[in-house]
């Protein structure tokens, strides 16, 4: 038995999903589906593409055109899909490691092209599928199985990264504030261009245990308490910002979209221009 939403948009027979108890991925996945529902998109016109990792299992549960690709390469495959059929609403579901370590190059170039793909990063600050290794978003000093003495790396701010690379819509939300996240995702899909939505979520099994962050409930509570809306964030002192992060819609600009530009090029030949 399932809710109306699940019945309509999920492949019910593939549930329950593989994610651990209390994993935020399910919350973010539901937010994506709610966003699609709010826009009233036809399921045949949506293609969800993922790479490898915990988050990348999401498309398999969803009743759209779904493509579970190789590690880090979701945006590469998605670019081919979008180019081939620009009418499709292409959504990429990826993780922090998938999108910004192994797939970092594809991320910045998809931003640069401003191709009409909405990318949702499930940022849980860890490689979960392989058992808890530190990722490009693991905070400096935190532990992973490959950072047993604390992570020496500085971590990425993915929203700043994608802004620098040229994305036209950028927002950060959380698995706690799931309604707000839905809104960001819906706005991202509506944006004609590359949209980047970072969803801060929690991995109680690996990141949580390794860093003594408590239960799934404790971790979601921490996410709630650490997230500060961007307007309020700007008023905080550096000291007050410690251990917190900013959420909100950070960037929303109009600029030429890649497949539209390519369409115009094709059109110019149809009209006999050269």
């Amino acid at each position: 038995m399932a809710s109306t939403l699940v019945k309509k948009y999920f492949r019910e027979d593939t549930l329950p999903h593989i994610w651990c108890p209390g994993c935020g991925n399910g919350i973010v996945t539901r937010a994506i589906v709610k966003a699609i529902d709010s826009l009233g998109l036809d399921k045949d016109d949506v293609c969800i593409v993922s790479g490898i990792g915990c988050s990348s299992r999401a498309p398999g549960y969803l009743d759209f055109n779904t493509l579970h690709t190789t590690h880090g390469r979701a945006l590469a495959f998605a670019t081919g899909v979008k180019m081939a059929n620009p009418k499709l609403n292409v959504i990429v579901v990826t993780g922090d490691g998938d999108s910004s370590a192994i797939g970092g190059n594809h991320l910045i170039h998809a931003c640069r092209r401003n191709i009409d793909i909405t990318t949702i990063v499930f940022n849980n600050n860890i490689y979960g599928m392989t058992g808890g290794q530190y990722s490009p978003t693991t905070p400096t000093g935190d532990k992973g199985t490959t950072a047993p003495y604390g992570n020496l790396d500085a971590n990425f701010d993915l929203c700043e990264l994608t802004k620098g690379a040229g994305a036209s819509y950028i927002a950060r939300g959380t698995a706690y504030a799931a309604k707000q996240l839905e809104k960001y995702i819906a706005d991202g899909i509506k944006n004609k261009g590359f949209s980047f939505i970072e969803a801060i979520t929690a991995c109680p099994t690996y990141y949580g245990r390794k860093n003594k962050k408590g239960s799934a409930v404790d971790m979601l509570q921490t996410v709630k308490e650490s997230a500060v809306m961007d307007k309020a964030w700007d008023k905080l002192t550096e000291e007050q910002k410690e251990g917190k992060f900013k959420i909100g819609k950070f960037h929303d600009v109009k600029k030429p979209e890649y497949t539209e530009q390519y369409g115009k090029l094709i059109e110019s030949f149809n009209k006999g221009e050269d």
Binding site: V6, G24, G26, I27, R30
Partner: protein
């Protein structure tokens, strides 16, 4: 198996096959309607429920929702 609890016009359904007992819905319910029993959520005090849907919103397993089957 899915269990629907109904009080007056309010009803709430739990699919216990999908519930993994994480307790998120219990913790974030503003009216303390839910409890875990044998690591599965049960709707204990539906009369107090304000149908805000916070449980459904944050259930990572799509195992609890407002309304019937």
């Amino acid at each position: 198996m899915a269990t629907t609890t109904t009080v007056g016009l309010k009803s709430h359904t739990v699919e216990d096959k999908w519930c993994k007992g994480c307790g998120i819905c219990v913790a974030f319910c503003p009216k303390n309607v839910l409890e875990l029993e044998n690591e599965i959520v049960v709707v204990k005090r539906l009369e107090d429920c304000i149908q805000c849907g916070q449980c459904e919103l944050r259930c990572p397993d799509f195992a609890i929702w407002l309304g019937g089957k």
